[in-house]
């Protein structure tokens, strides 16, 4: 924090400003004092909000203004990304809030609800609505709703280069006159006119010279609609307690039948009945006879009337754009699937294949051999006690280092995903795959995260962020761990190699099949229970293909890596230490000679009988399963230690003494399905933004693993016998 330059909690700012505006009677000397103090010291007092449709170039503009001064988090209690940044304007620090991309101010999606609450409750000083000039009608549909909010508004018509390239002409001055708000044509990608946009917004925020004629008047809805909104407005105005609120907004929302609006206003029965009578009279004026359709129709009609005046379309009707031509190939009936699978293969191969593992191995070498070697040498020199080696080298460097080896994979995967997202292909991928996944309660967008699950659950869970819908994301995340990740291969290799040498390939493959079957069944189960009736409509825009912007891409990848590094440095670091302590101390908190005496081992012994119905009730198996929570590879290395085998080869000779073929298969299935490793668990918690959900996912996985393994063992017994 620079001296005298602190950001006030944003919730205070609107109150502060109101108090200052009303302070002639000096009724709030305290607020006046703070306000003056802030002005003297240049505190953040101005707040600009950015809004717009998805794919309108909002992120590009946000990055352009804030550069590296941005903070990415979550909106309280939900997993919708919250981006805030600061920018310096003539020495003054301004907060910029990037609101989620939305199409409308309806109350049905998390993104829309958040936008509404920020704009109504936090009251930014000015709102910049970004409009994709190449798709102006649908973008203005949001703008006319924003105009009702009585927050000073500037429209930024983006992608002006595309509009001009198409040969269309858009007269922004005319648009501005017709709508009664400032309209600035920009090309965010080329930083064209973006300074002018900022100047206009700041000027508007300072002068607060925003007195739109009633939104109904300036947008010119048809007479019936305008009259209905005015009547409801008048009705609300009669209640003086409501006058502080954006009543044009609430009037139109009540006309639409918006349940959230009625709830917020807490209208009494009498007023509600009056509103209802006005609505009925309104519905009677149209053959469609339904308020939602009528108001949307009125809005689109008014918008079309405006754009007809302000826009001259030169592009020949029916001609194919570049985007259409790309789609002729990319979503072609025959070619779509091969192209899609090829792209998926390239992403998977580069993330988890040679390139990714080259960098992962590099990090492992640097940390394990180089750093580990250095620390060992230091400890040797200091003649440090034996346990310090274990703590520093095995637990800390090993634990955190093991997690850091994921970093290159995360970088590569998110570079690929950002490229898909920003180019517009992601929507096509969802379009192509939707049919397949719809049946199990998912959408086309779940495909990529689930596919990545075969590589590693951690980045796969992070990839689920590309799904806007909360329900879809949660359901997908709960299913991802069933996709057999790469770290489980050593377990399969050991057991399949030992017990099913002749059919090793088939047995390992069967694990993948079991994982997928369980995923499908879980999808069906969850869809009809936990997520019943919460299906979000799959009505998805296929945005035009665009060249991804390197800065947006870089920032996105960096944010992902940063989030992951913080996670590795904090939670995973401390959990690694805790688990090391459990593995090396006994209940009387003495360092144990061998791990079989540790707290961990005694917990393993205690829970071992639980696994008897699954065919592997030995305490060694139970402890290895516990050790697998750190990382699934550890199952094998723990077994080597616990059975006192010198090597994996020796372990392989000992296993037939403790496992039968059937219990080996059951053990493999359990390892496939039970709760994911620590790193994945932490990612799940982060992406679901809820410990409860993460624990639920872990319990669900473990429960499913238990049931499946038990079925395999108990039913299998009949056949083996």
């Amino acid at each position: 924090m620079a001296h005298g330059n602190f950001a006030l909690p944003c919730a205070i700012v609107p109150r502060l400003r109101r108090e200052r505006d009303q302070s002639q009677d000096n009724r709030s000397a305290f607020w006046l004092f703070i306000s003056e103090h802030c002005e003297r010291n240049g505190c953040v007092l101005m707040k600009i909000a950015l809004t717009g449709n998805p794919n309108s170039g909002k992120t590009t503009l946000f990055n352009l203004y804030t550069g590296s001064n941005q903070y990415v988090g979550n909106w309280a209690g939900v997993t919708v990304e919250k981006k805030e940044g600061t920018l310096s304007y003539g020495g003054e620090s301004i907060t910029l809030v990037d609101l989620p991309g939305i199409y409308s101010l309806s109350p049905y999606s998390m993104e829309e609800i958040i936008t509404r609450s920020v704009l109504i409750d936090e009251r930014p000083d000015v709102l910049i609505d970004i409009i994709d000039g190449s798709n102006i009608e649908r973008n203005l549909y949001l703008a006319v709703q924003l105009m009702e909010l009585s927050v000073p508004l500037v429209l930024a018509v983006n992608m002006m280069d595309e509009v001009e390239a198409k040969g269309d002409r858009l007269d922004c001055d005319k648009l501005s006159k017709l709508l009664g708000v400032a309209v600035i044509p920009i090309t965010a990608r080329k930083a064209k006119n973006t300074q002018l946009l900022l100047d206009t917004a700041v000027e508007l925020a300072r002068t607060r010279d925003y007195n739109p004629r009633s939104p109904v008047g300036s947008v010119r809805y048809d007479n019936n609609t305008a009259q209905a909104i005015r009547d409801i407005y008048a009705l609300l105005w009669e209640e003086s307690r409501l006058r502080e609120l954006p009543l044009w907004f609430y009037a139109s929302k009540l006309l639409e039948g918006d349940p959230k609006a009625a709830e917020t206003l807490k209208l009494d029965k009498k007023t509600l009945d009056q509103v209802e009578r006005l609505v009925q009279a309104y519905e009677a004026t149209s053959p469609y006879g339904d308020r939602e359709t009528m108001l949307a129709d009125a809005r689109y009609k008014a918008i079309t009337a405006i754009t007809d005046k302000a826009m001259v379309k030169q592009g020949a009707e029916g001609s194919l754009s570049l985007s259409d031509k790309i789609d002729l190939v990319v979503t072609n009936r025959v070619l779509a699937l091969p192209i899609f699978l090829l792209i998926m293969f390239i992403i998977f191969a580069s993330t988890f294949g040679p390139v990714g593992s080259f960098f992962s191995d590099g990090i492992e070498y640097l940390l394990g051999e180089v750093l580990g070697g250095q620390v060992t040498a230091l400890l040797d020199a200091a003649q440090a006690p034996g346990w310090t080696y274990g703590l520093l080298i095995d637990a800390i460097i090993g634990g955190v280092g093991g997690v850091l080896t994921f970093l290159p994979q995360i970088m590569i995967l998110f570079t690929c995903l950002s490229l898909l997202e920003d180019s517009g292909y992601m929507a096509r991928a969802a379009f192509i795959m939707d049919r397949l996944l719809h049946k199990i309660g998912l959408t086309g967008k779940s495909f990529i995260p689930m596919l990545m699950g075969f590589g590693c659950t951690t980045p796969a869970v992070m990839a689920a962020r590309t799904m806007e819908n909360d329900r879809d994301r949660k359901l997908t995340i709960m299913i991802i761990p069933f996709m057999s990740c790469g770290a489980k291969l050593p377990i399969y290799a050991l057991f399949a190699g030992t017990f099913f040498a002749a059919h090793q390939g088939i047995v390992v493959f069967s694990m993948y099949i079991i994982g997928m079957l369980v995923a499908i069944l879980s999808g069906l189960l969850l869809k009809n229970t936990l997520f019943r009736g919460k299906v979000a409509p799959f009505v998805m825009e296929l945005p035009p293909y665009r060249l991804p912007s390197p800065t947006v891409l870089g920032r996105h990848v960096w944010e992902k890596c940063k989030g992951f590094l913080i996670k590795a440095g904090t939670i995973i670091f401390s959990m690694s230490v805790v688990i090391w302590l459990l593995q090396n101390f006994n209940w009387s908190l003495h360092l144990v000679e061998d791990n079989t005496q540790s707290i961990f081992a005694s917990i393993g012994r205690a829970i071992a009988p639980l696994f008897a119905p699954l065919g592997f009730g030995s305490w060694q198996a139970a402890v290895s399963v516990l050790a697998g929570l750190v990382a699934k590879e550890t199952v094998v290395s723990s077994m080597i230690v616990l059975y006192g085998a010198g090597s994996q080869a020796e372990l392989a000779t000992m296993l037939p003494g403790v496992f039968s073929s059937l219990s080996a298969f059951s053990f493999m299935a359990f390892c496939l399905l039970y709760m994911p490793c620590l790193s994945a668990f932490v990612s799940i918690k982060r992406e679901m933004n809820s410990l409860k959900w993460a624990l639920g996912t872990a319990l669900f996985g473990t429960g499913v693993a238990y049931v499946v393994s038990m079925l395999i063992y108990q039913i299998g017994k009949f056949f083996v016998a």
């Binding site: 049905y108 190449s134 798709n135 049919r435």
Partner: protein, 82 residues
């Protein structure tokens, strides 16, 4: 929809390459709202560009942009073929 319409077709019955004019939007709740918000309002001209390789969802063109929706949802939209 309480009112009778002369149209019998729905958007879900169209074949790729066909165009239509929207007559009414049925359904309710989030889906209906989403459809009208995206510009599927009475009188709007819609072109069914294609179906996904596996037969569903559909890709339609309206108001100068491309939208995809599932056939089952498209059956809520009454249209008049042109």
């Amino acid at each position: 929809m309480s009112r009778a319409t002369e149209s019998t077709a729905t958007l879900g019955d169209l074949r790729p390459g066909q165009s239509c004019i929207i007559v009414a939007i049925g359904g309710q709740g989030a889906l209906k709202r989403r459809l009208v918000d995206m510009g599927l309002t009475p009188g709007c001209r819609v072109f069914l560009r294609k179906t996904a390789p596996l037969g569903d969802p559909l890709e339609i063109n309206l108001r100068g942009y491309e939208l995809s929706l599932r056939r089952a949802d498209a059956k809520n939209i009454l249209v008049e073929k042109v």
